[in-house]
């Protein structure tokens, strides 16, 4: 270490450099700091009803912690909105968290809800196995927990699951399509886009499709089964390749509506995207009931869509929490039987289709 005067000189140099840089950076730092503060405090202030500073465990309305695995598709955003609406209607408070596909983060978030002593939990699990520690934590705390859309694996942990009957809804949708498509003895080459086989919902949809097709031997021949792993790029590549290998494909079912952009793009490239009733029309069906499917139905391109009744599911989940809290018996599994929307019933069924509602909301001009 040098003499004191040298140290002072070094400190002076460092300070001068620091100050010069800080002087240039200060306005930027102020801007960033202001933005962060505005983002955090401003948004928490103008947030939702749950965003209060009162503890959830106190007297007052019931509080429900809602943890979603992701908000990456329109379905999940609509479902979260349905919960917000349902809880609002019942004058209940909602705390929300999204795990962004990370099971560890979901466990942490649910434990946070538990420390806030919420009255109930609604969770969309990352998967059937990693949700089990979450269920155990809720059970230990004595807080009722409802799983939304995905059932857990078998374990000693207690929960209620609200889930769409994927098999039955798909079966009804494909059955409607096949009955219409084979009229007059017509035969079709078919394609199915399959989801992630680790997801029990995609297995149910695949089985629903397969069982209908098996019941019509000779009329429907499945020439392509495209594994998408719920990925749009994989779906696009798969449909393009399948249409090249089987250009006479005339019947396509996708296990989720969010893959329609890939299907439509591939059909347009192949010159096969025609309205219902036009020559060359490829029979199209899907599952979910999203905004694009609704628009395709209205525009006359989509034949049928299996719809999950998100509003029923949200209401059933909240009711289950209320009942469990009151000590009433609730079945372990509550099924949404959904419905099929098709060219013949669009006007009648659209008000129950969540995608129709989100599409109309998106069309509204922004408020003042």
């Amino acid at each position: 270490m040098g003499p004191p005067e040298n140290r002072d000189a070094e400190a002076g140099k460092l300070t001068a450099r620091t100050q010069a840089i800080m002087k240039r950076m200060l306005p930027m730092l102020r801007g960033i700091g202001g933005l962060a503060l505005a983002a955090v405090l401003g948004l928490s202030g103008c947030g939702r009803p749950g965003g209060t500073s009162a503890d959830a465990g106190g007297q007052g309305p019931m509080t429900v912690g809602v943890s979603f695995e992701t908000l990456q598709t329109e379905f999940w955003v609509a479902a979260l909105e349905a919960f917000r609406e349902e809880l609002g209607k019942r004058n209940m408070r909602m705390l929300e968290a999204v795990a962004d596909g990370d099971a560890n983060r979901q466990l942490e978030q649910v434990k946070s809800f538990i420390t806030r002593k919420v009255d109930g939990l609604v969770v969309v699990p990352k998967d059937a196995k990693t949700i089990i520690p979450v269920l155990k934590s809720a059970n230990r705390a004595g807080i009722p927990i409802v799983l939304f859309n995905r059932p857990p694996d078998k374990s000693e942990a207690r929960s209620v699951t609200v889930v769409a009957d994927n098999y039955a809804i798909t079966r009804a949708t494909v059955d409607y399509m096949v009955r219409q498509a084979v009229r007059g003895g017509r035969k079709h080459k078919a394609m199915i886009l399959i989801g992630d086989l680790g997801d029990i919902n995609s297995i149910g949809r695949r089985d629903g499709f397969d069982d209908v097709v098996k019941a019509h031997p000779g009329a429907i021949e499945v020439v392509a089964r495209i594994p998408t792993e719920w990925n749009q790029e994989k779906a696009l590549a798969g449909v393009v390749n399948a249409l090249q290998a089987h250009p006479d494909t005339s019947f396509i079912f996708t296990s989720s509506d969010f893959l329609f952009p890939s299907v439509v793009s591939a059909l347009k490239s192949a010159g096969k995207y025609w309205k219902v009733g036009e020559p060359g029309h490829v029979w199209l069906g899907g599952f979910d009931g999203d905004g694009m499917a609704y628009q395709m139905l209205v525009d006359g391109y989509l034949d049928a869509d299996g719809v999950q009744d998100v509003y029923f599911e949200a209401a059933a989940a909240v009711q289950a929490i209320v009942d469990l809290k009151a000590g009433k018996a609730v079945p372990e599994r509550i099924e949404d039987v959904g419905f099929v929307i098709h060219q013949g019933n669009v006007k009648e069924m659209a008000p129950r289709m969540w995608g129709a509602r989100t599409r109309r909301q998106g069309e509204r001009p922004p408020g003042p």
């Binding site: 983002a39 560890n104 946070s112 420390t115 806030r116 998967d127 680790g198």
Partner: protein, 331 residues
């Protein structure tokens, strides 16, 4: 001394604040400030239960970020840590599972499973290190492709299925706070000791500053770089032990979404993306701050999108501070 000279001379408090802002402890001060500031706004934030939950959730991230810190100090980067976590998770579960494991029910299941997980981490790290040192390929592209390959392999091997039925002894390592804390502190402490008290640690910094100068000075650059990648892979494997135990299942997608947190925690803690600078203690502070931020923003009931934007902005500011520090060092 003239009045002008006195005016241009920096004040002591300005100097102190400037130094603090650019020091490794800035994030600790920020964490303390955040904690105190958010405490009255976020109900349940400062309770023992919540803090224990927060610490439990942070430990796997601390372990994997510690390994990443070592690599960053040498001027490299390891993007494959998340897929290493996933592959180690399913390999370990395949060995140990009481449902379908190769050693299910055996007393050797847990030690063999953990050893297999560490072997996976060392193998992936060795592969990265070899490609960077022997083939002289850029770490970014090497580890990016390793990430894709390893992740694809884990998903193909398991067909996206999770593996449950893990032994209770293994689950306890990750699910209980005390064993997980001991494991995480052991890894971080060992890495800290190597960096601060060993020749290998000084070599790592020297490589990060200037690999050519380090080589000319007699530093075994290739060997040290290779070992650093192996250590990072092993860190990811240990993190995988904690994640897999905590979630009671081996999964081919464990840790898939934490890459930004891993690198962000190291950078927040003062580790330079340009190499030659960083400490394990700083990274621990970075992990602490990210944990506090995540937890408190959730308790404030902010939307997912706001939380993502806030975290992204914080990490961006940390990266910018790194650039400022580097400019100061080279000015």
């Amino acid at each position: 001394m003239t009045a002008e000279a006195t005016a241009s001379r920096p004040s002591r408090s300005g100097l102190r604040w400037g130094r603090l802002l650019l020091s490794d402890y800035a994030v600790l001060v920020l964490s303390a400030g955040w904690f105190v500031g958010v405490m009255p706004l976020a109900p349940g934030f400062a309770t023992w239960e919540n803090l224990a939950n927060l610490v439990g959730g942070m430990l796997p991230l601390l372990v994997v970020a510690t390994g990443q810190t070592l690599v960053l100090i040498t001027g490299g980067i390891d993007l494959s840590v998340t897929s290493t976590i996933a592959l180690a998770s399913v390999v370990g579960a395949r060995v140990m599972s009481g449902d379908s494991g190769w050693l299910g029910g055996s007393v050797l299941a847990v030690p063999a499973g953990v050893a297999a997980m560490l072997a996976v981490g060392a193998a992936v790290g060795g592969l990265n290190g070899a490609a960077v040192t022997v083939l002289r390929m850029p770490p970014f592209i090497v580890t990016l492709t390793t990430m894709m390959f390893v992740s694809g392999f884990a998903i193909w091997w398991t067909q996206s299925r999770n593996i449950g039925g893990l032994p209770a002894g293994f689950v306890a390592i990750g699910a209980r706070t005390l064993p997980a804390l001991l494991v995480a502190l052991g890894v971080a402490g060992a890495a800290h000791a190597v960096l601060t008290r060993s020749l290998a640690g000084r070599w790592a910094y020297a490589i990060g500053h200037n690999p050519r100068a380090a080589f000319i000075s007699g530093v075994p650059v290739r060997r040290v770089t290779l070992l650093v990648y192996v250590a990072c892979g092993c860190g990811a494997a240990v993190a995988s032990v904690l994640y897999t135990g905590r979630l009671e299942a081996g999964s081919p997608v464990h840790g898939q979404r934490i890459l930004l947190d891993v690198i962000g925690a190291a950078v927040l803690g003062g580790t330079s993306l340009f190499g030659g600078r960083g400490t394990v203690v700083g990274t621990a502070f970075g992990v602490l701050f990210l944990g506090l931020l995540d937890n408190s923003l959730n308790l404030l009931n902010l939307s997912h999108f706001t939380i993502m934007m806030t975290k992204g902005a914080v990490i961006l500011v940390a990266a910018w501070m790194d650039t400022v520090r580097r400019r100061l060092d080279t000015a």
